[in-house]
Symmetry: C2
Subunit: 127 residues, 2 copies
Amino acid sequence: MNIPDAVVAGMRETNDLFCAKAVRSRDMNALDRVYTPDAHILPPGADIIHGIAGIKNFWLKAIVTLDVKDASLTTVSAESAGDTVVEIGRAELTLADGKKVPVKYVVHWKRHEEAWKWHTDIWNMNQ
Amino acid sequence: MNIPDAVVAGMRETNDLFCAKAVRSRDMNALDRVYTPDAHILPPGADIIHGIAGIKNFWLKAIVTLDVKDASLTTVSAESAGDTVVEIGRAELTLADGKKVPVKYVVHWKRHEEAWKWHTDIWNMNQ
C-alpha cells in the first residue's frame, strides 16, 4: 500500500461509520458521510444504483431483509492516485442467527467535504 | 467522463484484445496485454486471484466451462486520477447456445508498458 497514514485513518473512520451507524443502528442518514452524493453502487442481484437517495433505499431494504446485525471491513490492498484511492477489501456480515457472510469488494474512494468517501462500491460473494 | 481521447482509445484497444483474443480465440497469452502482471481479479463464486498466471488459469477455465463464444464491453462511466482510471461498465457474454449473460463491472486501469491495462477487475450479475 502506498497510502499516507492520515488517509488510512480517514478511510477507517468512514468504514467505522458504515458498520456502527448504517448497519448496527440502521441509521441510513449516516450514509451521507459514507458515500459521495453522486456515488454508484453495483450490488449482486440488482442493477447499478446511482446517487445517495437510491443507495440509502438499497441499504435499508438489504439490511432489514437479510436482518444484518453487524459488519466488519478489512482492507486487502489500497493504491492512491491523485485525489482517489482504490481499495480491495473483505467484509463479513453477521446475520441475526449468528451466521457469517463473507463478501469481497472494490471501493473507489474520493475526498469529499473534508472526508474520504465511497464513490464507487461493488462487491460479490465467493460462493 | 473526464478522460482524454487518447486514454479512451487505449482502453478500447485493450478491451478489444480481451474480446477478440482471450474470448473469441481463447488465446490466454493475450491477457499479458490486458492485465498488469500483479493485477487482482475478484470473480463471483471464487476467491480473489492475484497475478497474471492465476488470472490466465481462471479465464481459460471459465471461458471453456461456460463455453463463452463472444463478449462485448461498454463503459458506463470513467474517471481518471493520476496514472489510473476507474471505470464502471457493462459486459455481455454470448454463450454457445446463443444465450446472452449480462454482467456489470468495475475496472481499475493503470498505465503499464505503453498500454492501459486492467489492474483490478471485479464483476457481478444483476440476478
